[in-house]
Subunit: 150 residues, 4 copies
Amino acid sequence: MKTLSRLYYRIPFSETDAMAIVHHSNHARYLERGRIEFLRLAGLDYNQLIKRGMQYPVLELRTVFKKPLAFDEIILIETAIAGVTRARLDFSYKIFSVPELAVPSLTTEEFSGNPSVLGETFHCCVNPQGKPIGADADVVQNLNKLWGQA
Amino acid sequence: MKTLSRLYYRIPFSETDAMAIVHHSNHARYLERGRIEFLRLAGLDYNQLIKRGMQYPVLELRTVFKKPLAFDEIILIETAIAGVTRARLDFSYKIFSVPELAVPSLTTEEFSGNPSVLGETFHCCVNPQGKPIGADADVVQNLNKLWGQA
Amino acid sequence: MKTLSRLYYRIPFSETDAMAIVHHSNHARYLERGRIEFLRLAGLDYNQLIKRGMQYPVLELRTVFKKPLAFDEIILIETAIAGVTRARLDFSYKIFSVPELAVPSLTTEEFSGNPSVLGETFHCCVNPQGKPIGADADVVQNLNKLWGQA
Amino acid sequence: MKTLSRLYYRIPFSETDAMAIVHHSNHARYLERGRIEFLRLAGLDYNQLIKRGMQYPVLELRTVFKKPLAFDEIILIETAIAGVTRARLDFSYKIFSVPELAVPSLTTEEFSGNPSVLGETFHCCVNPQGKPIGADADVVQNLNKLWGQA
């Protein structure tokens, strides 16, 4: 069964634009925050991965903006794995505008409600020189467990 | 025949990240710079469009990262229309890493070389309250001319 | 007695730069997050202030960088009032790198430790047209209470 | 005689905020763009400095906001040295809102007009491990020439 990570985030004034909504470039940063939390849930501290010589740059990003986000709103960023091999790692995301923080922090059930934003990111694993490599077996195993394929 | 706008941009230090490459969230901002220039070429000053009650928020964003961009590089952002109706406006983009500024600033031919980044954005036209509207006829006509459909 | 607001924040990858530390432009955004929380503590929701016709743009910003901040660190942003009149509002800030979240969320005592960053911002009150105005009496009274002058 | 570098920059939509002006955190990035150009004028490519083992992190930043900047405006960033030793390097800046690009690109005379923003940054020279060092003699000499002290 697929596992979701949940991260709450309050929208700062600095991420709004002259339309008085969150500028669409910031959502990639929200997805990244969600992804880092997901890795932490999987027992994978991203700083430790970097020290071990593995990084996951973004190959492709897709974001669908369904409802605008506004200053001071609390958003919930749900992150799940969309695919993982030794060479690749893909994530899918839903961002919800939530009224409060009273939602459980980890679950296998999605938040009920209409997402404001949908996202997908596609990554490969690279070494410190930026060359594609296969991730260590324990990393892939940990990710597989949360993907629900292990 | 489709028209391209060309915008040069020097990568600032502030847009790099700890991998010493441009953080992938900044590319959406490069596409936006390209888009604003494209509209200017079409005789459409974005500030004027806003004053006339038309804005083009992003409905969807796709970016493909083929080669990383680095600090102090000069990039060329090529923008073209991918589709236009009264309700919708879609753009496609190519970002090239270029050695110098000696490329003509407007042409119907693409820069020869492998793009570092590919992008697509999908927009609708909204009024100041954020409600979808049809753009004024002269706006669509100007865009159609550069799309090569007029 | 002066009151401090405390806000915790985890440093995202997107706010690092090619020196592998937080880019110095982001600290102004951390101060702003601290300031918005301080206002909330004072019973002043910034969105409500905007609706009531009062905004506090930054007239001057000073930041002293004592120790660099790194990716995934948790920082504590302490905010206090440095001065308030009907026309003006000034804040001072300390940012600490903290090992955990176990610090009380509101107190009149400063966090013990050496701050990584010191900040000051100076603001005036303006109306929606950007003209300097005097803030409403209840706003100044609420701020005065946390400043310790009431 | 002191030398100024001049850099023109068009304000993108992404750097505005919900007050429909440039968010005050972005000005530090404009100063940085000005500083990198100044170094280039001094014959010092910042990438080359990094390769030679010298970097100039910001110790302190001060910005005074006199007039707000708006979307699509062209600004002129004037940068000058405020002080230089082997250990330290300080800059002062003026940002002007300008109607066109017809101003000479380098001069010892300031742009006539009222600056929208004043800035100062204070730097030390560090090695790749972040330890303070003395800059190489040729670097200091080049900077001194533009400071007008050589």
